[in-house]
Symmetry: C2
Amino acid sequence: MDEKRIAEIFKAFCDENRIRIIKLLRSGEKCACKLLEEINVTQPTLSHHMKILCDAEIVVGRKEGKWTHYSISEKGVKQAKECLRHLTTLDVESTNESCREK
Amino acid sequence: MDEKRIAEIFKAFCDENRIRIIKLLRSGEKCACKLLEEINVTQPTLSHHMKILCDAEIVVGRKEGKWTHYSISEKGVKQAKECLRHLTTLDVESTNESCREK
DNA sequence: AAAATATATTGACATTTTTCTATATGTTGC
DNA sequence: GCAACATATAGAAAAATGTCAATATATTTT
């Protein structure tokens, strides 16, 4: 996966308000109006954060009439975990020259 | 863990150059001069990114004379994984009111 | 069809982040 | 001690991000 996409995924987790939103979704699907009650931002700001979370595919929105219900995306989370695992696992295959000197 | 610290950890993964650096460290410990050769930024910019990676505890620096050797921190990675797991795991204990309406 | 409600988009502003140049600090070898 | 090298810090500029007020869009209700 390219660096740009990886960055996009993890941007979900690097803003305090988005982390609060994710924590709220741990208890299950919630509509935007409910999230808005529990978080200290205006409605357009919440909408902006939900877009970032959805673009990262950590969250999915389900439209139902005038409401949008958001929930944690199992699929996206799996991808994020796999991505984190891959990034941080030593690659034993690759040779290594640790320093120009020595 | 508080939102601020969680955001700090995942900031390691939300910049393209930092992801490139982490990918380079997958092949093992590397000194700053070696990383600098392989990445298209100036030395102070690299230093800045290394600080963010170290603050997130995803990377550790080992000083040896005039060199600093960087490597992926198993301990920090473990914490990040655990953090991601916790954030994205449904909390079955908590009751849920998904929407104000209905 | 008009009013009310839920969410998204636009545009402006403030803050944060990334980047650079210049300079400082610390280490090694002469 | 001095020159050369590796890395860090300071400060400034540019870019990206977070935030809000205003407004648009879509849906439901009356």
